[in-house]
């Protein structure tokens, strides 16, 4: 698998055939900086400001102590100690998002390959079916899942009907949170892998079989390396947004399996501590960035060692 983060080689011949003026990029770039860069800068700045004595918000006074408070807890008995609570929440976020990424990957590869090997008219229909969940709000769909998993809901009734007498409890457990995440992110894994697989020339696979390769060998040596860009895109589209999930732990986990977004939301809401919520967000950004960089370095090394 490779992850190539380098930009395509740029040429300064903007008037060459098939190229358009670079000025066309001005509006999208302005929009992106407005909606991506500026909010991030605001969060970064807020994380170093003090809190007002009344209500929420920030006051323009430098205060770096929020970062200290992530790691050091002033206990109610007056002692100070190393604080594992936020680290545990961050760990939860990585764990749940990681499990989700692996599970969606395992589910998505066969689905994507299967769709890609149908005839073109069927493919259109199948891709349309994959995107069908987007027609309804994620909130509504998550409510539907609570109805499905509830012990008094569909699955609970089936369990009772087939003679299960024990306590049927999936909803409001970490399992429910992860199931919800897998459900939510599955299309984001299928679609990029499919778009890679669709371009894959399956005659290569046939050639592999002709030369005596087994099924698994063809899959791992021929197919997967070809669809790797799609897999990497899928992993990025699932893992990184997965870290910031709010709804699934809140609704399906019964509020008991906090991920980092839930803690940030509480700090921006009830706790009225915007700088601390911002500091937690910045920390999450930094950790995500480091993880992404490590992944890409590993991918490049592997690419280099192969070639």
């Amino acid at each position: 698998m490779t992850l190539d983060l380098s930009l395509p080689t740029t040429h300064d011949d903007s008037q060459a055939p098939g190229k358009t003026s670079k000025w066309l990029a001005v509006v999208p770039m302005a929009f992106l900086s407005m909606t991506v860069a500026i909010p991030l800068i605001i969060i970064f700045v807020y994380s170093f400001l003090a809190r007002p004595s009344l209500g929420a918000g920030v006051v323009w006074k430098f205060d770096p102590t929020h970062y200290v408070k992530i790691f050091i807890q002033d206990r109610l008995d007056g002692t100070r100690s190393f604080d594992t609570r936020y680290l545990k929440v961050i760990w939860n976020s990585f764990l749940y998002s990681g499990i989700t990424t692996i599970a969606t990957l395992v589910l998505a590869i066969p689905v994507a390959l299967w769709i890609a090997t149908r005839d073109p008219r069927k493919r259109v229909l199948l891709v349309f079916l994959v995107t069908l969940p987007f027609w309804t709000s994620i909130l509504i769909r998550t409510y539907a899942i609570t109805e499905l998993l509830d012990e008094k809901g569909v699955l609970g009734k089936i369990a009772t009907a087939v003679g299960y007498n024990g306590h049927f409890q999936i909803l409001y457990t970490p399992t429910a949170t992860i199931l919800g995440l897998i459900y939510t992110f599955l299309p984001f894994m299928i679609l990029p892998i499919y778009s890679s697989a669709e371009r894959f020339d399956f005659r290569f696979a046939e050639a592999g079989y002709d030369l005596g390769a087994r099924k698994m060998t063809v899959l791992f040596r021929i197919v997967l390396p070809q669809i790797a860009p799609g897999v990497m895109a899928g992993v990025a589209l699932v893992f990184i947004p997965g870290l910031g999930s709010f709804l699934q732990p809140d609704m399906l986990g019964g509020g008991k399996t906090n991920m980092i977004a839930n803690v940030v939301a509480n700090n921006y809401g009830q706790a009225r501590n915007w700088p601390f919520g911002s500091a937690l967000s910045v920390l999450l950004c930094v950790i995500t960035l480091i993880a992404t960089l490590m992944l890409s370095v590993a991918a490049r090394k592997r690419k280099a060692s192969r070639s």
């Binding site: 809190r51 109610l76 008995d77 609570r85 409510y143 012990e151 019964g254 009830q270 706790a271 501590n273």
Partner: protein, 368 residues
């Protein structure tokens, strides 16, 4: 805050048996025409810009106001106190009457965002329930008139042997060991209930004494609810997925409608109430019309119309006879005076005390 979100159709415990009893003397007070005060303005038409919570006033009631006074009402809506504050602080001038909750009134008075109009001296000012006269956010009702209010207590299913015995917050926290308990995802409610359960008086709920919070945290360490969530609680209680829930009285009324086994408990240590208020924004262009509107809303009949629409209680004396039977006959609604006394305003603490709430709540949620 979800807690302050008005929910349409929610009926509520009306507390104040007072307001049901003393109707004869005040129900005759009329709207603007019978103004006893010479200074009080009379309606001369024009406009009124009302900025209210979503779905929090009956459109028919506004039409009736226009029909009676000739004043046209323009309604705009918001979804949280913070949204309202942000608009006003950003310099929005288009609003005359606004509807902030208790703690937000206190904040807006401090920030100088409200007109001081002495609501108590309005012709219908005498209809304000005495229990709502000297509230912390507006002593003597200088700035605001009461609108709707509600409490946060305990919904219990009487079929469950443990749930049916709950009479206090102490019982509530202990019940999670034997039955399914839901709790609001609300740090103020959870921590203040734990403080009450460990013996802290209502007046001390904003204490900065860490040992009090340590005791509350010790109690919460043993409290493992089934769900920590502010949404979907009505459905879970109705279908008996959960047998106990920390809940707003309005939501318990709705549970009762679909499942008569459910009952609202006023915990013996006391419980929090929130209250929304009609206020006039500083520099309101239609000041006289705003006064006329607030006075009109303090008429017992109008208080009842508001309750019938929102499902929440009002603090207008004499509104009882005009209320829908369904709301009046709910056992949670005919609150005894003893129960009404248990309710105290939701604590609006200093930043230092609020941080202690956050500390306890964070430790608790991360230990689940």
């Amino acid at each position: 805050m979800k807690f302050f979100t008005p929910k349409v159709g929610m009926a509520i415990a009306l507390a104040a048996a007072v307001s049901l009893g003393l109707s004869a003397c005040s129900s005759s007070s009329s709207t603007t025409s019978a103004s006893s005060s010479t200074e009080f303005p009379t309606a001369k038409g024009g406009e009124l810009n009302l900025y209210n919570w979503t779905n929090y006033i009956d459109p028919a009631q506004l039409k009736a106001f226009t029909a009676e006074t000739g004043i046209k009402v323009n309604l705009d809506t918001f979804d949280s106190n913070e949204t309202l504050l942000a608009k006003l602080q950003a310099g929005a001038t288009g609003y005359d009457v606004i509807v902030p909750s208790d703690y937000m009134v206190a904040q807006m008075v401090t920030l100088g965002l409200l007109e001081k109009v002495d609501v108590a001296s309005f012709p219908n000012g005498k209809n304000i329930d005495p229990n709502f006269m000297d509230v912390y956010w507006d002593k003597g009702r200088q700035y605001t008139a009461p609108y709707m209010y509600g409490t946060t207590g305990i919904g219990v299913n009487m079929k469950d042997p443990i749930a049916s015995k709950i009479t206090s917050w102490k019982d509530f926290f202990a019940a999670a060991k034997g039955t399914s308990v839901d709790v609001l995802k609300d740090q103020t409610e959870v921590v203040s209930a734990a403080l009450r359960a460990t013996g802290v008086a209502a007046a001390d709920l904003c204490t900065e004494d860490k040992s009090k919070y340590a005791a509350a945290q010790k109690l919460l360490d043993t409290f493992k609810p089934k769900v920590i969530n502010s949404d979907g609680g009505i459905e879970r209680m109705v279908k008996e997925s959960s047998m106990v829930r920390m809940a707003w009285n309005g939501s318990v009324h709705r549970m009762t409608v679909d499942n008569p086994n459910i009952k609202y408990v006023f915990p013996s240590e006391g419980l929090n109430f929130w209250a929304d208020n009609l206020a006039i924004a500083k520099g309101a262009k239609n000041l006289d019309n705003a006064k006329i509107f607030i006075n009109w809303m303090l008429d017992p009949k109008q208080g009842a119309v508001a309750t019938n629409f929102t499902g929440y209680a009002n603090a207008v004396l004499g509104s009882g006879p005009f209320m829908d039977e369904a709301i009046k006959n709910d056992p949670a609604i005919n609150t005894t005076p003893e129960n009404a006394k248990l309710a105290t305003p939701t604590p609006n603490c200093s930043t230092a005390a609020r941080d202690l709430y956050t500390e306890v709540f964070t430790s608790w949620t991360s230990s689940q």
